[in-house]
Amino acid sequence: MAPKIGQSVWKFLDERFMLSQLITFGKKKTVPEHRRSFWYFFGGICLFLTAIQIATGIMLLLYYTPHIDAAHESIHFIMSGVKFGWLIRSIHSWTANILIGLLFVHMFSTFFLKAYRKPRELTWVTGFFLLVLFMAFGFSGYLLPWNELSYFATRVGTDIAGSLPFIGKGLKTFILGGPEVSQATLSRFFWFHIALLPMAALVLIGIHIFLVQTLGMSKPIGEQGKKEIPFFPDFLYKDALGWTIILVVIGVLCVFLPWEIGTKADPLASTPLGIKPEWYFTFMFTTLKLVPAHILSIEGEKLAILGFMAGGLLWMLVPLLDRRAGREKRSPLFTCVGLAVAAYIVIMTVLTYALPKL
């Protein structure tokens, strides 16, 4: 009796969602298997973590209040009054940080494997925008608990945006919804975080996955082996193993180091010493601190910001710039540039925490 019902349900769903065709596609689709195929799994893990973010974010919406008089209190209630609220919020916060860290790993692994080369240029570009979007998710989400650290970090962050030449002032006013961090800012950041950014991210993720599925995984240049494994179920099982491991890590972090609530923000208080943004922005933050006040009579900070923007643009255009890789030839120059960029990010991030008085 039960198998019959199961078959009927399957038939019902299959006729409507074309599940058999999807499975056939999955079975037909193969993934290259070689000594560097380990790096393929980071994309899947990032997608898994994004799903966790959506699920936990939706749950947090049940209790979070986006108002400066109630935001901090609502987070306090989530952490102490709501059953498993502490777990949901800690998962959301920890996963956000792990996700951004793994997005960097995914991006650099893709870069060093030169997976951006023809015909996957757009996969790289959409991935680049996804990283920017997720950093914006982090920046907007950081303010939502309305605590002292997030409040002042937002002030510092938006001041940096405000020092951009020509558009700085207008951009800062647009981000803040006024001249300073206020209720308008919290409302905007909330709107960015739960409406605008998720919509943009879903569209980009859709395009990114579509491109990955249709174009397949890129093989590193010079990889001679022709060994391949089916995407379904072989590769998916390996992906699931990675997801399981990451779940254990998140669980341990949430239980032993639940995310702090912090002290409620007081706009009238003076800026606490050593205020800094979230760790993934610190390489830029420390650069701005180290850059001389003036370089060739131009304001050093503005020049550094322009430098980051130009660097980001070049990074996005790497598939077009690296012509050797496009011709399936090794491009050691780009590998060196990638290594230098990765080393710069790591060193600057470490310096921020190792030498806070820098």
């Binding site: 099982y237 390996k238 399981t244 779940l247 254990v248 669980g251 609530i261």
Partner: protein, 423 residues
Amino acid sequence: MNIRATRLFVSAALFAPLLAFGQKNSCVDCHSQLEDELKAPVAALAADVHAEYGLGCKDCHGGAPDKDDVDLAKDKSFKGAPKRSDIPRFCGGCHSNAAAMRAFNPALRTDQLSQYETSRHGQLLKAGDTKAAVCTDCHGVHGIQSARLPKSLTFPWNIPQTCGRCHSDKTLMANYGIPTDQLDDYKASVHAKALFDKKDLSAPVCNDCHGNHGAFPPSVTSVASVCRQCHPSTGELFIKSPHKKAFDELGVGECEACHGNHKILAPSTAMIGADEPAVCAQCHEKGSRGSEAASELRRDLDGFESGFRAVKDLLAQARRKGVEVGDAEYKLQDVTTTLVTAKNLTHDLDTAGIAKTVADGETALAEVRAAGEKALDEARFRRRGLGVTTVLLVLLAAALALKIRRMARARQEREGSGDSKTS
């Protein structure tokens, strides 16, 4: 002609401000070429509060700084440097003149000189002791800064050191037969901790108890009034206590008898009891009624305080284990207030009132303790939950790893058989 007149007028209009700006000051011109103490005023005056208000050398020392010749510059109005014994009146020339002060700082008091004359320093100076402190000893000479500026000698956290410069000098103080340990004692006090560690500028320094311009050691009868400026409720309680009458009869300074003067430490229940170092033991013989009452008070307060500390530790433990205990910590703050109230009530020796306060505190403490224990239970539950989940996830991971391995083997076998068929 008209053109020449216009040119002349325009030139005068343009250069007049420059001439005014670069007004001649022969005092500065000469003294900047001299050495050591004769040169020092030139540099120091740049940061001086008087210079900020536009006052110059002439305004205190007289003379004619617009003259190049020294003899002409030191004209009849020249006062030179005042004698040490004349300094208070020298400064008082302006600072006691309300009309003159109004032009610069109308809010500044003008009774410093009259206060100084009532001070111990002023009395000694009047008696011909030129070693007695005068204005410049506390405020500096040139380079005097507003007391609101942290670098000023009279800014709150500099005052102990300013007074201590003389009062810690054993040679100088030997003439007056007064101790020189006040500064060290003060630095060990709870007031100094508030001032230097917590940067609480409202914490008392020397002049808050002794006065500033009218500085004088408070008499036995006025000690309590001095302390009550900041501790009024404690003073009110003490007046109601049987100690008030006894202390008055014995001629003992109220607060100072138990808390000391410069080295006032953070009060604790260790001050109460029948045995040393409890201060009660200074007057009450062991076994006396007073001694017994002190022991009982100590037992009650210590019991409450140790319970309070245990609950505080409990909450800290729960917080370390990651459980949010903000509400319980907030309630514990109320218990802290009750504990402080109970300790404060010892000043009027109302044992019934203290017992009731302690009982109320214990009730509130029990509620917080229950919240703390619940939080620790929650921490244990979370760890157990994590353990179970981790085991399940590890099992799942192991199953997946096995499955992946089996699939890889099957694939290899298929590929092997495919190869053999091909060959």
